[in-house]
């Protein structure tokens, strides 16, 4: 159990010398733009898209006001954004971008290539539904669509986490054992446009935490020319793809190390996930992003009514912390897995599929109900989450598809 605890976030630690922070009112987009300003990348190539547009706009102001040293490439599409990022990162420059939804979908081809070349590009992502029909509001279908691309994938509950996660993403991606691209995501509009209290760490402290970028290779050094992206056939392709897996496995250790170091420096430590009332919980909700915030209220309300409810907020989706997750859920008899996207495998949402696979390997067979909810930004209220938890607790073990997967709140 001790080991599992370590993989979770810890509350603000007292007594450590923390740098002076400024408490501000900021939206998720503003918080992410602030992180980008402090990270101060060498190159940023980005294209605006709702609801991530503001990140690009605010950052353009930082560039044109001379607050960053970044060269900003105002590309003509997201495909070119990621392509330019690949060129830039291959040239030894610390490189960032931001996007959402269709923009991320347009990048999919290049996401795999960025990961295959082991380029530590960092992206601020805002979760939004994918067309069709067109919809600008939050769900997770965009980032879930990129889940097998080789990117490290971190979800954020609120603006503070979005900021904290984006800063950590740089360290994780650039770690010599990892060298994979990473995105930190927020929930479209709910977090990206919602104003919250937000603590901005001093520029110097963030820059010190990030450190100097030491690229593994660069196209700008002509002393030892090399070819990147050669045609790679039956005799080597497999090994090259396998190397990305090695990076992803190593990322698990690195993410925890950096999460702890971040806590020592700024006050909040981060793990793979965070538990609320997990220890004695009889029913647990597993959720990503902003729904976890709503889930906290639901769990507290149920606790007041004597129901032993708990919440597991998953922060890191790639690499998937399977071993740690099953350990944290080992004693839980009933689990509601909340998927804000559908994988259309006609079986379960992406989060449920992953968790069920992990539990099977661990020989744990709790009662699981998968809730597909909130697609296209449909609101989810804490009362609904209370209902979901109660329903999951009371239900018999699901024995068919309709009882295993509930499309919550959809008009049939």
């Amino acid at each position: 159990m001790e080991k599992a605890i370590e993989t979770m976030s810890s509350p603000r630690s007292a007594g450590k010398a923390e740098p002076r922070k400024a408490t501000l009112a900021r939206t998720g987009n503003e918080a992410m733009a602030e992180a980008m300003r402090q990270i101060n990348p060498d190159v940023c190539a980005a294209y605006p898209i709702t609801p991530a547009t503001e990140i690009v706009q605010i950052f353009a102001n930082f560039v044109n006001d001379g607050l960053v040293k970044t060269e900003f490439i105002t590309v003509e599409s997201e495909h070119s954004a990621m392509s330019a990022c690949i060129g830039s990162a291959s040239s030894g420059a610390r490189t960032m971008t931001a996007t959402s939804s269709q923009g991320l979908a347009l990048m999919y081809e290049m996401l795999y290539i960025a990961a295959g070349y082991r380029l530590p590009i960092v992206m601020a992502e805002v979760n939004r539904a994918l067309s069709s029909p067109i919809n600008i509001h939050c769900d997770h279908s965009d980032t879930m669509g990129g889940r097998d691309s080789g990117w490290i994938q971190i979800f954020s509950e609120n603006a503070q986490e979005a900021y904290d996660n984006l800063i950590q993403a740089v360290r994780i991606a650039e770690h010599p054992d990892v060298l994979l691209p990473a995105w930190a995501s927020t929930d479209g509009f709910i977090i990206s446009h919602g104003m919250e209290n937000f603590e901005l760490y001093p520029d110097d402290a963030v820059r010190q935490f990030i450190g100097e970028y030491k690229p593994a290779f660069t196209l700008l050094d002509n002393r030892k020319p090399f070819t990147l992206g050669a045609a790679d056939l039956q005799d080597f392709y497999f090994e090259h793809r396998r190397s990305a897996y090695e990076g992803m496995r190593a990322a698990k250790k690195v993410i925890l190390e950096i999460g702890r170091e971040f806590g020592d420096k700024f006050g909040t430590a981060y793990g793979f996930f965070e538990g609320v009332h997990l220890d004695d919980a009889e029913v647990v909700m597993v959720a990503l992003g902003s729904t976890a915030g709503t889930g906290r209220v639901a769990v507290e309300n149920l606790r007041q009514r004597g129901i032993k409810a708990g919440l597991l907020k998953l922060r890191v989706f790639r690499p998937f912390p399977a071993e740690e997750l099953v350990q944290a859920l080992a004693h839980v008899p009933a689990i509601a897995i909340m998927d804000r996207s559908d994988s259309f495998n006609a079986q379960a949402g992406p989060l449920a599929t992953e968790i069920k696979a992990a539990l099977y390997d661990a020989g744990q067979y709790p009662k699981i109900i998968n809730y597909i909810y909130g697609l296209g930004g449909r609101d989810i209220h804490f009362r609904e989450l209370e209902q979901i938890l109660e329903q999951t607790l009371k239900a018999g073990k699901p024995n068919d598809l309709n009882s295993r997967v509930v499309y919550w709140g959809v008009r049939e």
């Binding site: 060498d42 190539a45 040293k69 070119s80 830039s88 196209l219 050094d221 070819t227 992206g229 050669a230």
Partner: protein, 311 residues
Amino acid sequence: MQNLKQMSNQDKVGLAGGHRACAGCGFPQIIKMIYGQSQAPVVTTCATGCMEIATTIYPFTAWRGNFIHSAFENSAATISGIETAYKALKKQGRLPAEQEMNFVAIGGDGGTYDIGLQALSGAMERQHNILYICYNNEAYMNTGVQRSSATPQGGHTTTSPAGKVVPGKIQFPKDLTAIIAAHDVVYAGQASVGFHIDLMRKADQAFGMVGPKFMNVYTPCRLGWGSDPAQTLEIARLAVETCLWPLYEVAEGRWKLTRKIKEKKPVTEFYKTQNRFRHLLKPENEELVKQIQEEVDRRWHDLLQRCGEGA
């Protein structure tokens, strides 16, 4: 400009020997002649295509300098990122002050005229200091000879076959060089592998200019064209002499014809050298050939006007 004799003594330029390009393929010569004019080391991006496949099968590479391929439609976007990284790191003093580099993006006509046109337009419009080279062999040769928007009218390809009802590609090729010139780039030129001096002079001029440069270089593909590999250069010259592929440049907005054609040869002279046009020489396609000839004449006339050559 380096002449052929000087270049023949350089073995560290462009491509090493042993690449897998077909006999009679034009692109290795194009690379050698263009890269020979660069005064600084070159970083290359290349779109997916014959050149990338033939020069880089892992663990081998034929590239003497730094090279990256990432996808089909993004050679221009990738070079944008490299050139910008160079600018950023140079400004911060993280590269040696004396270091100079040239940034070259390459694509075939598929990667340039079609799937990569958006990325190319974006890079040209943003005024990156790059040279984009299209090696134009008038079809998607790497995937097995499918039509592109550069394929000539009447040309047989596997997706515009010379059939019983439709005699090859229906449309005239689009004028990409003029489209790029309309971006107000510092240099846009059409060259041919068949005219070495003209090609090398254009590369020399382009490397000497700051800003976005574009060269559209014509080269036969013996496989896709059904031509004699020993005749590659002759056929490339014939395309110029029939005015199917005029040699011109637009440098800082000034249009200039770089090879005057005193006696224009009929397009059928060009057709005779390649299987892809065999059907056009049959009597039932006489009218089509006449229409194509008229269109070639009209475009040639317009080009002369633009270049101030009169008619």
